[in-house]
Symmetry: C2
Subunit: 235 residues, 2 copies
């Protein structure tokens, strides 16, 4: 059975966070130098992402949005990599680098084609404003943004997927998770979603060690979102 | 100052609920006759809309979605206008008429042009699934759907507008409410939104008595969404 809705992971799947973060860190380091290169700080910033959501997923901490987590993690990194954050404007600008991430070259065309046939939803751990700003920055638009505020938890908590399907008035089996990350697809499959793995072998840069290949029994495996549109028979 | 986001009322402003509901009631009455015409039942169904949300707005009743309210109100109407609802499938189909409303002729082109320059959000009292289905049915898409689940109350509760702006990470003064209803614009203006009145003189049919003209000091008054795009200098 074909799904009715495709739910997309965003960071890494639709947008290339590493290039975007590296670019804006490099700009910041021009005036506030660090003891290392922007790529390493970008990787370290992303590496803080999962651990910082864990207290929210486990319920030890109330819901806070990704801007808050990214800002807290940035303060930590500024100490570790010995760079000055500058005044409040500079810090906010740098934290908002996560709202200015370029998409992969196939994302705009892929989403446009897939929207002709399916409900295409953003299902990122980002909050609504972040998902909207990323879309406007890159000039694509979702049919619906199921931000973290909507599902009130973070993936891969099973409730994140179940509540997303419920919001669309659909059974999990009518939903397909589209992601470049095997752990995300596994969690979605466990609640009954269909799954599409998008290979993004340079998400983590030249030395990427994870998610180079599908590690689960996913319904579709593709090299890009335009490839997904073709595999799902979209014009 | 130009707004950053336009928040659209949907029923009456973007879609022509009366034609859509009349059409589907007429289909239902072919097999389950009523003692009156479909237009009258459509008007009566819509008239139940505001009163049925009131217990939710006032907090006497927990949040329920519009499908639930529309279904309850339909049962009431079936008694008043003496028509049989048919089996469960028929009843669900008829309730879902609210997901199949045709848009006004200018809506698709207007939203498309306005999206080039602004964040265009659906801010209806409808739930997310309803707003998505209406958009897919008519082949337009929002940048973001701020459904009733997101703001957790119904307009014109001031919190509905305040929470919508907060979800976008914007001040109310950066948001413009777009609606065919003066009461909606008044409530939005009271929390600091800019306002655009779209005249829809046939929303309630040939004998429409309200919202024929702007009754407040709105920032923009237009005859259609394409007219709004032109007034706001969108290509």
């Amino acid at each position: 059975m074909t799904p009715k809705a495709l739910l997309f992971d965003v960071f890494g799947t639709v947008v290339d966070w590493r290039s975007g973060i590296t670019r804006d860190l490099a700009i910041h380091f021009q005036t506030h130098p660090s003891n290392t290169d922007p790529e390493s700080v970008a990787d370290a910033w992303r590496a803080e992402y999962q651990p910082s959501m864990e207290p929210v997923r486990s319920g030890r901490r109330g819901y806070v949005d990704l801007d808050t987590l990214h800002a807290e993690n940035l303060v930590k990194l500024s100490k570790e990599y010995e760079f000055d954050l500058g005044d409040e404007n500079k810090t906010v600008w740098l934290t908002k680098a996560w709202h200015r991430l370029p998409c992969w070259p196939d994302s705009v065309a892929g989403i446009e084609r897939l929207k002709r046939q399916f409900i295409c939803a953003s299902q990122s751990n980002g909050h609504i404003a972040l998902a909207v700003n990323l879309a406007k920055y890159n000039n694509y638009s979702w049919d619906v943004i199921l931000g973290a505020e909507v599902v009130r938890t973070y993936k891969p908590d099973p409730d994140a997927y179940k509540r997303a399907a419920a919001c669309l008035g659909l059974e999990p089996s009518s939903c397909m998770m589209v992601a470049a990350h095997n752990y995300d697809l596994k969690a979605a499959q466990d609640v009954g979603f269909k799954t599409a793995f998008v290979r993004r072998p340079s998400e983590h840069g030249p030395n990427q060690a994870i998610d180079l290949e599908a590690t689960g029994d996913w319904d579709v495996c593709v090299e890009s979102l335009t490839d997904l549109a073709t595999k799902l028979s979209c014009r």
